[in-house]
Structures are given as C-alpha cells and as structure tokens.
C-alpha cells in the first residue's frame, strides 16, 4: 500500500477549500471519474456518486473541526491523512481543539415539513449517511476516521475485479 497523502492546514475555514480540493482529487484516484470539463481543472463540480459522498462528508467534518473544536479561531492545525486504495478511500483527521459529544447530535425530524425543516445540526448527519464508516474519538487529540468503499459494480467496471 502506498504511503498516505498528508496535508496539515491551520484549523480555520480559510483553508477549507484547499483541503476539500485535495480530498476531491484523492476521491478521483479511487473512482477514476472523469472531469466534466477537462479544460477547467479548478472547477468545483463533483458529479460522480463516490466523489460526491467523500467530498460532502469531508467538508462537513472540516467545518465541524474549525467551528466546534477550534471555535473559529486560529488555534491549531488539522492534520489530514488520505489513503486511497483500489476499492476505498480512508481519510483520517486529527485536531487538538475541544472535543465534542457526537452522541448529543440530534437526529433529523422523522417528518419534514415547513415547520420542522432544520436550520442546523445537519452536518454530522450528512457525513455519517454518505460514508460506509465514520468514527470519532474525542481527545485531545480528537480523531476522525472516514471511510468510503467503491461499490463492487464500480470496481468491476473500473477493471478491479
């Protein structure tokens, strides 16, 4: 297995786009998805389902670390290790901010209508639902482990039977 791709960024939202772009490119290593517009490598578009899941989940966890662990202050770093393999992508994030109780995150309302539409608390739900595995170990350091597996049918079509 190749060495992980590593990135260390200040734990603020200013560096979010850099981290998200690296994760998107790493997801493409696994999904082998093509760019819609190969002439525009800086486009934000994410269309492949695997890439969509990985990018959406990672972005929410990065937000969570910057906002809740580091309280929107430049108070520490986020260490990101990305391990792509033929059939899955593993992303590990480590921060040294305040831990939080993931069990206190409220689930989405059972029935959604105009009155129950949530205006917050959706990030963890998005990440958890998009991934095959998401674990959080409060610290310090706090450690997130995000894992997304390429569906078997996709692996076969990519020539990875």
């Amino acid at each position: 297995m190749a060495a992980p791709i590593r990135l260390i960024v200040p734990g603020t939202l200013r560096y979010r786009a850099i981290a998200v772009r690296l994760v998107a490119e790493s997801a493409r290593l696994v999904s082998q998805s093509a760019r819609q517009d190969p002439k525009n490598p800086l486009a934000n578009e994410v269309r492949d389902p695997f890439d969509t899941a990985v990018v959406s989940a990672f972005a929410e966890i990065f937000n969570n670390v910057a906002v809740h662990a580091y309280k929107r202050r430049d108070a520490g770093a986020i260490e990101i290790a990305i391990t792509p393999s033929d059939r899955e992508l593993l992303i590990e994030l480590t921060d040294h901010g305040d831990p939080f109780d993931i069990d206190e995150v409220a689930p989405l309302p059972a029935e959604l209508d105009e009155t129950t539409l949530p205006e917050g608390g959706m990030g963890i739900h998005i990440a958890k639902t998009m991934l095959d595995e998401m674990t959080y170990e409060p610290g310090p350091p706090n450690q997130w482990r995000l894992r997304k597996v390429l569906p078997a049918t996709r692996a076969v079509s990519n020539g990875r039977s």
Partner: protein
C-alpha cells in the same frame, strides 16, 4: 471573486440564482441578501440552483431560512434546477420532497 448569487426583482417575482459553491464560507454573503428578500415580503420567489456545483449544511440552512421566511409571510417559493451533489444532499436530508426538487 464572483458573487455566488444574482437577484432579479420584478413586481411579480423575485428570482435568486445561486452558483458555484454555497458553503460555510459563502453562505454568510447570501444570508444578507436572504434577509432583504424576506423583509420585502415577496409574493413569489424562484431559486435557481442550476449553477450550483457544491453545497454543505450551512448552504442548506441558508436556503431553509429563505423558504421559511417567504412562506411565513404568505409567499410562495420554488426551487428549480438542482443537480448533482446539491440534489444528492437535498435527497439525503429528505428535503427534495418539501422543495419539490
């Protein structure tokens, strides 16, 4: 950086086109415009998401606030054009049916 949104107002309708990435960094810009739209008590608002490439929970929250604000003053809001990652997020959150996406 290009504005992540564009607003067109007529007597009959307010059109809001959102493009690029609507996320925790860009949603605050849109939130100011959303407050203005809600305060104007429009009868009809159309939110065009065809140009939106990426959204996160902060972006969703901004659009939910707009939806609730317009509806609470008796207006109608339609969201159109959602595709790819944003559409998947709305489906995951089960909001696609509420917004008729």
């Amino acid at each position: 950086m290009a504005s992540p949104y564009e607003v067109q107002r007529t007597d009959a309708e307010t059109k809001l086109a959102v493009r690029g990435s609507l996320d925790i960094n860009t949603a605050p810009q849109l939130a100011e415009e959303i407050d203005k739209i809600i305060a104007s008590k429009p009868k009809k608002v159309t939110v065009d998401l065809a140009g939106l490439d990426l959204i996160d929970s902060s972006g969703v929250a901004a659009l939910v606030k707009l939806y609730k604000g317009v509806r609470s003053s008796g207006g109608a809001l339609a969201m159109i054009g959602a595709r790819d990652q944003p559409l998947e997020i709305f489906k995951l959150l089960r909001m696609d049916k509420v917004f008729n996406l």
